[in-house]
């Protein structure tokens, strides 16, 4: 009877902890791992790390910006296209953007944004699938939390060749 009680208490505690954790990660912030080299100068700068071990960066994803859907140019965000991607916002609704590799200029429709990776050579981004709805955005990356020598804030910037020339 006693062991059952202990088990019951433990499961109650785990359940409460899970509830609070889930709520916090949904509405405040969560931590996710960056894979791949599409954001290469910002995250995962070297493809092969110490002794061939690859170290993937962990980043802090802030969710409070989702309440108002207010983003600015140069924000880094993970967006969901069935699997998650981390990209940088290049253009917001109403902006004009020139597409890479061809001379087209197009306008971003209402409620959409244009996202690109920082590494133009290996990135699957809006240049291949077009503008994405802001509703798919899952949060904003604000800090790198792991590995320890790279802890710090992620700065907002727009790649120099993608300036707002239009």
């Amino acid at each position: 009877m006693a062991t059952r009680n202990v088990l019951w208490n433990y499961s109650k505690k785990i359940f409460t902890f899970g509830l609070i954790g889930l709520t916090a990660s949904d509405s405040l912030a969560s931590i996710s791992v960056v894979r791949g080299a599409s954001m290469s100068p910002t995250f995962n700068p070297s493809t092969s790390g110490f002794m061939g071990l690859r170290t993937d960066d962990c980043v802090l994803v802030e969710k409070t910006c989702l309440v108002k859907y207010k983003f600015s140019h140069g924000d880094v965000l993970p967006s969901n296209h069935k699997e998650k991607h981390i990209k940088r916002i290049i253009a917001l609704p109403g902006d004009w953007i020139g597409i890479r590799h061809c001379s087209d200029v197009r306008r971003i429709p209402e409620g959409h944004c244009w996202v690109e990776g920082d590494n133009p050579s290996s990135s699957m981004d809006s240049n291949s699938f077009g503008p994405i709805p802001l509703g798919l955005v899952k949060g904003r990356v604000t800090h790198i939390v792991w590995p320890p020598q790279r802890i710090g804030a992620v700065e907002k910037r727009i790649p120099s060749d993608r300036g707002q020339a239009f």
């Binding site: 409460t16 509830l19 609070i20 889930l22 069935k82 409620g111 709805p133 509703g135």
Partner: protein
């Protein structure tokens, strides 16, 4: 002695306040989790789903399990985050899944031009039941699957038409 007494009283009061707050916080967390992961109620209004849902406003229950498991199929009523304005949620019916060919009237009010579109990978085609006044995939194209928020399955208000919303 009086100070000590006062201190202990104050301490028990603070402890009780903390306990109460913790209970409320836990309850709010539970509410949030059920709302986002299990099922939530939504007020749907507007003429776009007319024969199925009323103009004046129906309260419907939507479950948030099947779209995570990829079990949303043809004919389901879904809650979709509007592609034009991410703060709004719209209720529409899934008419085409990825790879399907969808034929639709561009503007059934004034002309009967019929167009056919193929739904790309990872997208769904959503339309309102009332083709005349619905702002749906015929205007903004197929929507990404990730925008689906839930599947509507039960109407709870008005009370006289309570029941499951099937195909």
């Amino acid at each position: 002695m009086g100070v000590l007494n006062y201190m202990s009283q104050w301490r028990s009061l603070a402890k009780e306040a903390m306990d109460r707050t913790a209970i409320v916080a836990k309850f709010l967390c539970l509410l949030h989790v059920t709302n986002t992961y299990v099922c939530s109620s939504t007020l749907v209004y507007g003429p776009s789903m007319l024969p199925t849902l009323n103009v004046t406003g129906d309260v419907v229950l939507a479950e948030h399990v099947s779209h995570r498991l990829g079990k949303v199929g043809l004919g389901d009523l879904v809650l979709v985050r509007s592609p034009g304005d991410p703060k709004k949620t719209v209720t529409k019916r899934v008419v085409g899944m990825e790879g399907d060919k969808v034929s639709f009237f561009v503007d059934p009010m004034s002309s009967d031009i019929c167009r056919t579109a193929v739904v790309p990978k990872g997208h769904v085609w959503i339309q309102g039941d009332n083709a005349y006044v619905s702002n749906d995939s015929r205007h903004f194209g197929p929507v990404p699957y990730g925008l689906i928020q839930g599947k509507v399955f039960l109407r709870v208000w008005p009370l006289d038409s309570i029941g499951f919303l099937g195909e």
